[in-house]
């Protein structure tokens, strides 16, 4: 233990090279103002607001970059220091609109706020996106800057609104570089930079292109770290602050990010990253979670009323009528003619009830869900060692990373962020398969083979072969030496399902990482592992455990349906293609969104979206995460588990009096678990169309990009981000360019 004296207070601390005066002060509850500092970013030392006086050191030193050492005597405020900071802040505020800070009327203003909110340009207090909470204002107030002795200078830069999701108003920028640092150093995207220098410095992209062109993933990390109103989410910048904020789980992929949902007027208006301490994402998100959720849940494409078919016409009905009709269909249809389709984006509890209705009520194991193959493959192969599946923070302990089966930067940005952290500490990353812009920069080695051929490349890697396609013998040697020692991690994406033998492929991978290694399966859809646990697959029972009875997989169900041998289909996932199911007579469609199934439904049961329901989500780390009912489902929609429980009761299932999802979970937990390696035997689902291999996330029947137009802009730009390896030499390039400009010698 060392002791440092800050403002006459003796503070004990554990000295390390990283521990700065600022860190020690914060731990002791001493406030030192900062602007450029951010706890996720490396110290920068630019804003000078944290200058302190350290006895024996020349001049003033920034607390954020100075290591705290035993015996230091620090003063955070002296008359001279306060005056200096005030003057520096005044210089900073020359170019930052100061109406909110210096206006004489600002106290009274709250009462008489004008409603001119949508002025495109921020000229002062009320039109600033940060008017409700501003870090800069906090610092100004603390330091006590009350006048501006210089002529203010409005930079008059047009607000950048051409890109999706967020606006950029650099008139408010104070060049703290947090956005650039988070984009470069934490997310590894480097879609923005500081361009030029000195007073002309500004945040920009290369040659001023749009963010879509510069490779931005719209993860929103820059928006979240900006201390001013320069960067603001377009949808929420003018609607003030939430009345209530609740942390819940995003179900739009298998990561299970914690997201803070903000509510105002009883509606979901904000989705912002969850708390810093909340795993797995620790205050980071992807474009879906950060910007798409409010639009997605508030879209008019929601299913609104329970409906039943009367005289071949679907008409609104009461819940009782709808439930009874569904129960009647279930009771009246012979077991072998009923099929169930669960959704990987429903809660584990709801999925459990659905399979219970199938197995105990309808007496069939004809139940499956889209994406179950990959989940079953993973869980089956790792059955005898679940500790192979680890949490993302365990990546900090690995010595190398092998990634395969898709570009996880596109599909799983939060996982990508965790991987990039390792890249920054020089952990070699070996990627097999097609590659995108970020991975091109991150990967130490890239085995550039089409997705169909990754199986071959992997088996060669496992054999430590020196002839591996697309790389030199030397590179192969180096890779072999990397992967044969230390602890490895494998990031495996669902596109390994596109190989001839995914089972073999995964076995080869497991052979490469050996006993110590860890696996990160990137589940593309959401709660796949939860659904496996719930037994929502023909060959798996709740637990999960092996089911020896014969059931029907999704593919088999479709085949049977196309022959007209299925009379009733209970489907909860509108994302499943209708093709093949046209001959099914009765369809119970239970979903929060209208889809192609709506018109075919015999009974329509409107359900809640994930932000409106309670339940459990199991993410790719096998972490059990809570979903919370933040607002009531809109119109007459109900939570999936409630609907299913009512049906269970109506068909007379025993033990169906659950008070809450917790009761269901407890029942599920009592099931005996036990999977075998060979549960993945029968392929249940293949993409209907080729282009479905492209990333186009869906949520229970709706392609998110159809509802969130800004997302479509990003998705449309993705093909241009794929890296084509073949390229010209520098000589060729320069020769080509020289032809374009008039040569110096033309005149001679």
């Amino acid at each position: 233990m060392a002791v440092i004296k800050i403002d006459n207070q003796n503070i004990e601390f554990e000295p390390t090279i990283e521990k700065t005066i600022l860190d020690v002060a914060r731990e002791a509850g001493i406030y030192i103002p900062t602007l450029c500092d951010h706890d996720e970013l490396e110290p920068y030392g630019g804003c000078r607001m944290c200058l302190v006086d350290v006895e024996g050191m020349r001049g003033y030193v920034p607390a954020c970059t100075t290591t705290a050492k035993d015996g230091m005597v620090v003063k955070t405020s002296t008359d001279e220091l306060n005056s200096l900071k005030r003057r520096i802040l005044q210089l900073l505020m020359i170019e930052h609109p100061v109406g909110c800070i210096l206006c004489d009327e600002r106290e009274q203003c709250d009462k008489f706020r004008p409603q001119a909110q949508k002025a495109g340009r921020v000229s002062g207090c009320y039109t600033c996106p940060n008017r409700n909470h501003c870090e800069l204002e906090e610092v100004v107030n603390f330091i006590g800057m009350k006048t501006l002795p210089y002529d203010p200078e409005y930079r008059d830069i047009p607000v950048e609104r051409e890109d999706p999701f967020f606006d950029r108003d650099y008139n408010l920028c104070i060049l703290c570089a947090r956005c650039v640092r988070v984009c470069d150093d934490v997310r590894g995207t480097a879609a923005i930079t500081i361009a030029k220098r000195g007073h002309e410095s500004r945040i920009d992209t290369a040659f001023g292109t749009s963010h879509v062109e510069s490779g931005c993933w719209f993860c929103g990390a820059c928006v979240d770290v900006c201390p001013t109103g320069s960067l603001s989410a377009r949808k929420t910048k003018w609607i003030g602050i939430p009345e209530e904020t609740v942390e819940t789980t995003c179900v739009l992929c298998g990561t299970g990010c914690q997201v803070n949902i903000g509510v105002k007027y009883n509606k979901i208006m904000w989705s912002e990253p969850g708390n810093k301490d909340s795993p797995p994402n620790h205050h980071h998100m992807c474009v879906l979670g950060r910007f798409c959720i409010p639009t997605l849940v508030n879209t008019p494409r929601r299913t609104k009323n329970p409906m039943i078919t009367k005289d071949s016409i679907l008409v609104p009905a009461s819940w009782d009528e709808a439930i009874n009709e569904a129960a009647r269909l279930l009771k009246d249809t012979p077991s072998e003619k009923i099929g169930f389709i669960a959704s990987p984006q429903m809660t584990t509890e709801a999925a459990y009830l659905l399979q219970k209705i199938a197995r105990e009520g309808a007496n069939t194991s004809a139940i499956d869900f889209m994406g179950s193959d990959f989940a079953a493959l993973i869980l089956g192969n790792l059955a005898d060692g679940h500790d192979k599946i680890q949490t993302l923070d365990k990546l900090d302990e690995v010595d190398w990373i092998l990634s395969i089966g898709g570009d996880f930067v596109v599909t799983h940005q939060v996982v990508a962020k965790s991987v990039y952290k390792q890249v920054r500490r020089n952990v070699p990353l070996i990627h097999v398969g097609p590659i995108g812009e970020n991975l091109r920069r991150w990967a130490s080695y890239h085995i550039n083979v089409p997705i169909k051929k990754i199986e071959n490349a992997i088996s060669k890697l496992a054999q430590k072969s020196m002839s591996i396609p697309s790389i030199t013998k030397e590179q192969a040697e180096r890779i072999a030496s990397i992967i044969s020692s230390g602890r490895g991690a494998i990031i495996v994406g669902s596109r390994i399902m596109e190989t001839k033998n995914p089972d073999k492929c995964l076995s080869a991978l497991l052979e490469i990482i050996g006993r110590e290694g860890v696996v990160y399966p990137l589940l593309p859809l959401g709660n796949e592992l939860g659904l496996i646990k719930a037994g929502a697959r023909a060959d798996i029972l709740p637990g999960p455990a092996v089911n020896s009875e014969k059931g029907l997989t999704l593919g088999e169900l479709r085949d049977k349906a196309s022959k007209g041998q299925i009379e009733l289909l209970y489907i909860t996932d509108g994302s499943v293609s209708l093709t093949g199911f046209e001959k099914v007579e009765n369809i119970i469609y239970q979903a929060p969104y209208a889809s192609e199934w709506t018109d075919r439904a015999t009974v329509l049961l409107p359900s809640a979206s994930f932000a409106e329901e309670d339940g459990t989500f199991v993410n790719h780390e096998m972490r059990e995460l809570r979903l919370k009912r933040i607002v009531d489902p809109p119109y007459h929609a109900r939570q999936d588990w409630e609907i299913l429980q009512n049906i269970a009761r109506s068909i007379g299932l025993s033990k169906s009096d659950y008070k809450s999802p917790e009761d269901i979970w407890n029942e599920l937990e009592k099931q005996k678990a036990g999977l075998k390696k060979d549960i993945y035997k029968r392929k249940s689902w293949t993409p209907a169309r080729k282009d479905e291999t492209r990333w186009n996330p869906k949520y229970r029947g709706v392609a998110i990009a159809e509802v969130v137009k800004d997302l479509k802009v990003l998705i449309d730009s993705l093909p241009s981000r794929e890296v084509i390896e073949k390229r010209e030499s520098l000589d060729e390039l320069l020769e080509r360019l020289q032809r374009k400009i008039p040569s110096k010698e033309v005149l001679e």
């Binding site: 030392g45 630019g46 000078r48 970059t65 003057r87 520096i88 020359i94 060049l175």
Partner: protein, 612 residues
Amino acid sequence: MADEKIELLVCLGTGCESAKSDVLFAKLSDEIKKHKLENKAAVKRIGCHGLCQQGPVIAVEPEGLFYCQVKESDIEEIIQSHLIKGKPVERLFYEHDDGTRIPHYRDIPFYAKQTRVVLKNSGHIDPSKIDDYIAVGGYKGLERALKEMSPEEVIEEVYNSGLRGRGGAGFPTGLKWKFARSSPGDVKYAICNADEGDPGAFMDGSILVADPHSVLEGLSIAAYAIGAREAFIYVRHEYPSAVASLKKALKQSYERGFLGENILGTGFNLDIRMMEGAGAFVCGEETALMASIEGKRGMPRPRPPFPTEAGLWGKPTVINNVKSLAAVAIILREGWEWFKSIGTEGSPGTAIFSLTGKVKNTGLVEVPMGATLRHIIFDVGGGVGTGREFKAVQTGGPAGGCLPKEKLDLPVDFDSLREAGAIMGSGGMIVMDETTCMVDVARYFLSFTQQESCGKCTPCRMGTLEMLKILDKIREGRGEEGDIEKLLELCDTVVKGSLCGLGQNAPNPVLTTIKYFREEYEAHIRDKTCPAMVCRDLVKYVIDPDLCIGCGACSRICPTGAAQGEKKQAHHIEQDMCIKCGACLEVCPPKASAVLKIPISKTLADIKGGAQ
């Protein structure tokens, strides 16, 4: 003596080269061949000889004769008279103030009053030939270090010599090395900072051109001492001849086994890589320089941690200036006691300046530390030379300050200059006479640092700009009472608040000019006049019709057509069109001297009336 071959050393330093000395070199070589004098005479290229003012210069060895301002047409005479007849060309010798000619450079006051230690080889050896360097004792220091001394002993030697960093801050070199050596880690780097960015300074560039091996030797010794196996030289891109010279020297060093594997058979390995800067003054700051080598924006980062703990790629790194490293080679060769005997107690060794501005002998000057400014400017430099009064001397580049007459007897060393408000800097010294406006000079330096600010920290980015605005106001005659105080307050903010040396020292020119020349600021603010008649908004050009002979020279040269008039008639200047470039004044025939520069508030009649 008669048998000894005559060597004609043609200076190819920047000054002489710009004056086409390369043509002289080519012509001399041709002529010697043509006249079959190869046995009698040889032509050699040398780096800066020192007295740039007289360029192009040719030194003739071994006699030590010195030809000044040689033109292409003089070559024939040199061949015929000097080489063939043995009669040196007297009219090309240096002309002393009293009109006499001085044949030997050692007798020219400019050289006679200097003490050349680091510059000893400059202008005497052919920098493109490693053997020339070895012949004068080169690489002896490295050999001694590698073969006879442990790294610790080398550090001790440098520490004992008292050598302080010649880059400007004056930190003891030996101590810096000690820190780097004791920092944990296997990988360490040594860097030579040759990013000489101060406007008005060209010492480092000259040494790299004239004596590159001395720098490589010093850098190798530094690397050995701290335990580095890789070293870098960061050279300013604007110095193509220094780059070329270094490239050649590096190649030769590798060929001769002074670099590479198993140097001098001692088992010591070292690679030196050269890296060119790309035009950013701030990269002279060591943390910015390292960022630049790493391929990043050259933005400084706060220290501590110092580069000796965490430098290039986070590894312990030593960064030394060109002159420090050249001195290191000498210290290892001659011993620390000898070095310490030169200069003062606190600042041993010599100081090297590039002496420019309003001074008779511009050039490269080396004097012992502790010599006075007067000695440098008047004894060596020969005084102002414009016939006007000395006004100020600026040292230390944009981070330095302007010292007035009263400070001429100040001894030049790290500490006394800093005390006076200026700094040693890397060694630019610019002399100013009464035609220099101190407000304009302060603004010039400030605009330089303002443009070179990296923009990372607020005080430097915004503070220098705000200062510049005030200085512009003053210069343009819009100054107000209180502006000086505002400036001083801003200076304080920028000095105390900035992140790196660039910002912390940027206000020095303003501070010193206010300290020593406050009345000039006041004249601009209160009387709206520029005493030196420099600030263009406070002066105007007029033509005295009584004196104008109507030659039309002014109207021909005037870029805007403001100077107007009929042939043979008195001309006049249309003030609205005039951009005050002063071209008319320059071309007006001396016999007429009709163009006058007068304060903006005055009329021609005022001036003439005043004269009567």
